[in-house]
């Protein structure tokens, strides 16, 4: 056996795990998606009925997808912008900057349920700190029913998500910014470039790959958000925070429609795959050599 080929054997344990814990359940889910099954009775083969129902006869699935897009866009745009801005302010390794970077990173180490508990309390219209502070500052007009108003609930949760994950993205941007050679700024300065021109012509092109990674990661992360939404609102009120992952959970574990939930999961997988593919294309477009 050639040493080169034998190295492939080391991949085998990982491959086995992947096959057993990912490929097999996925295939099983695919088979299940063609059935009607309540988890107790016998499975009934119903062909493409679940997919037909998902695409043409289930308004809540469409609503959950729309909510997912709203959530994703809010999180991607604001989290990327905020983390880049903070990274630009904090990328130099001074004591104060390191302290603030650690401070902003802190929420990342909290579990989503802890984040949900904190924000659930802060947003509470009766005892929450946000409305209380706004009231004491004479800004009652800004006080809202943050999680109870169907028009704004999804954005309130998006804000909590941004709070929880911005610190993580700052780290990626700081690494990208620190990799930019200082000579380029000196050259730009000698050419008469101001701060904005230096950012536009030096910083942004060189930090763009990091921005793409942040955007790609944040997109997938926000699409898969489940625990934060589940713990904060459970998908309500009036489906306003129902996203695909919470809807699949409700279909399976509250509705006991495991076949239909499997079909929704397949649909969800395709959506994630399309988005990931789009992000991958974008990533290639932003590569700087």
């Amino acid at each position: 056996m050639k040493p080169g080929k034998s190295l492939y054997l080391f991949v085998l344990p990982g491959l086995l795990i992947y096959l057993v814990f990912f490929v097999y359940p996925t295939l099983q889910g695919l088979v299940l998606s063609f059935s009607r099954w309540d988890g107790v009775s016998e499975k009934t083969w119903i062909g493409l009925d679940n997919y037909r129902r998902m695409l043409t006869g289930d308004d809540i699935f469409g609503k959950a997808f729309t909510n997912n897009l709203k959530f994703m866009l809010s999180v991607v745009v604001f989290q990327t912008f905020l983390s880049l801005t903070l990274a630009i302010l904090l990328f130099k390794n001074t004591r104060a900057n390191i302290f603030f970077r650690s401070l902003y990173f802190f929420p990342t180490i909290l579990s989503s349920v802890a984040v949900a508990f904190i924000w659930g309390f802060m947003y509470n219209p009766n005892v929450g700190v946000i409305n209380n502070v706004l009231g004491k500052a004479g800004l009652n007009v800004l006080a809202h029913n943050w999680l109870g108003d169907p028009k704004i609930a999804i954005y309130s949760i998006a804000f909590a998500q941004i709070w929880a994950h911005t610190g993580q993205m700052i780290v990626v941007f700081v690494a990208g910014l620190q990799a930019i050679p200082h000579d380029l700024y000196e050259a730009a300065h000698l050419d008469g470039a101001g701060r904005w021109q230096a950012f536009r012509n030096v910083t942004w092109p060189l930090v763009a790959p990091a921005a793409t990674i942040v955007a790609a990661y944040t997109t997938i992360q926000s699409f898969k958000a489940f625990d934060l939404i589940f713990a904060l609102t459970g998908g309500g009120p009036v489906y306003s925070t129902e996203i695909l992952s919470t809807y699949i959970y409700h279909t399976a574990f509250q509705g006991s429609e495991f076949g239909y939930a499997a079909a929704q999961s397949m649909g969800f997988m395709v959506i994630i795959a399309v988005i990931t593919f789009g992000q991958f294309k974008l990533l290639r477009g932003n590569r700087v050599y």
Binding site: L12, G39, V40, R53, N124, N126, G148, V238, A252
Partner: protein, 434 residues
């Protein structure tokens, strides 16, 4: 040499991996009922040797584990050859988590189930031993165990009795000279008086359980047909019909007149409970099951139960809403059915049901039980009244149940009742029973 080193390393990794899997598999297999010999052979061996038999009791009430531990200790004293192990699974995923264990008989020799959809599913799957004619069934109040019957057979015994209707603060009512009203105009007048006197008339947990609880008493007299949800689920009745739109309109009226606390859709049951316990709110739109925790928060609280009557007094058919739940059953797939029945019989004895009731603050369906707290005694008065089984529990399609509770949230959020009903009916149409 290098080649052999590579192969050896690979074999070692694979062996460790498989050993890990094997270990996890075996511990999982024995997890829930590890000490119990599973299968017929195991049961027979246990009987032959006269060794202890271990049965598993699957339920969802984590808060009752302590009192069940005490009851189990007493049961084991009386039946030294039977051990009982509790397996508590979260209620939200109870069906999904319990079913596999119940079907293969590895756990849940005795198990609790919810009435309505879950009971129907379990009956269809032949999970229950027929308890009809067993001596201990006569310990229960006849009309409170109907939720566990199907086709004339008693498959499960509802153990708990709950009244899913608002709780009120008796002292506030007395202070303002108010009594539970007999009709809708009276209910509105009551709320107005409470509001004028600085109280929140109704603490409404709109973020979680409120819509699903309040809809019961709000609709009970607007549509008195106890088969109405079956008709909605099969397309014979619609949510756009007058009774449902009227129910939504009345809920909206309460909200628009400021009889719920502000921003009620952002309020969960704990916060609503606190508003009531702190005596800021005069009514709490949940159910009798919260009376014990309210009392813990405020020992001076005096609580009663009432249900809004949404029609003129002479048209009211029902006085309130009850649910009989936590239905005890013996698993038809269990190899230890005799031991399991003995345990159910033990729980069905008056003194044991009494201990359970008084220590958990829950009413029970067992006859002649004496309650030792004012809250339980107050709730027990309702057993003589004409109450209706919780309508929401009779919705068997989860998507339709959610459409109904979402319609309640929708009108509180400002939607027109007819539009909210139409939106909900659209979901119903997409989920009609086939």
């Amino acid at each position: 040499m290098k080649k052999w080193l590579n192969i050896s390393a690979f074999v070692l990794i694979l062996a460790l991996l498989l050993a890990g899997c094997g270990k996890s598999g075996s511990s999982e297999g024995g997890g829930a009922s590890n000490a119990a010999p599973s299968g017929e052979a195991g049961a027979k061996a246990s009987e032959d040797s006269g060794k202890k038999e271990k049965i598993s009791f699957v339920h969802w009430r984590g808060e009752d584990v302590k009192v069940f531990d005490e009851l189990i200790a007493e049961f084991t004293k009386q039946n030294p050859n039977i051990e009982v192990e509790q397996n508590v699974l979260p209620s939200e995923q109870y069906l999904a988590s319990a079913q596999a264990k119940l079907i293969d008989g590895t756990a849940g020799d005795v198990f609790a189930s919810f009435p309505g959809a879950q009971f129907e599913t379990f009956v269809k799957a032949n999970l229950y031993v027929d308890l009809t004619g067993a001596d201990f069934v006569s310990n229960y109040t006849d009309n409170l165990i109907q939720a566990g019957q199907k086709d004339g057979k008693q498959y499960a015994l509802p153990y708990q009795l709950v009244y899913n209707q608002p709780i009120y603060n008796k002292k506030i009512f007395e202070k303002l000279n108010l009594t539970p009203p007999k009709d809708w105009d009276g209910f509105l007048a009551l709320c107005e008086t409470l509001k004028k006197n600085g109280y929140i008339p109704i603490a409404f947990p709109g973020a979680d359980i409120g819509p699903g609880q309040f809809i019961n008493s709000m609709m009970m007299n607007n549509n008195t047909d106890e088969d109405i949800w079956n008709k909605v689920e099969t397309g014979q009745a619609k949510l756009t019909d007058e009774w449902f739109v009227k129910t939504l309109s009345q809920i909206k009226e309460l909200n628009d007149k400021g009889y719920f606390q502000p921003d009620s859709l952002g309020t969960n049951k704990d916060i609503a409970g606190s508003l009531f316990s702190q005596e800021k709110a005069a009514m709490l739109a949940t159910g009798s099951y919260m009376m014990a925790s309210n009392k813990q928060q405020n020992p001076n609280l005096e609580q009663g139960l009432l249900a809004p009557i949404t029609v003129p007094a002479d048209q009211a058919v029902f006085e309130g809403i009850h649910t009989t739940t936590f239905m005890l059953g013996v698993n038809a797939h269990s190899k230890k059915q005799d031991a399991a029945k003995k345990f159910v019989a033990f729980l069905s004895q008056k003194e044991n049901a009494e201990k359970y009731a008084n220590e958990t603050g829950q009413l029970v369906t067992v006859k002649d039980v004496q309650y030792n707290t004012p809250e339980l005694a107050e709730s027990a008065k309702w057993t003589d009244k004409h109450t209706r089984f919780q309508p929401r529990y009779l919705i068997t399609v989860a998507a339709i149940e959610k459409a109904v509770t979402s319609a309640v949230q929708n009108v509180i959020a400002g939607a027109d009742p007819a539009k909210a009903a139409a939106d909900a009916q659209k979901v119903v149409d997409q989920n009609l029973k086939k």
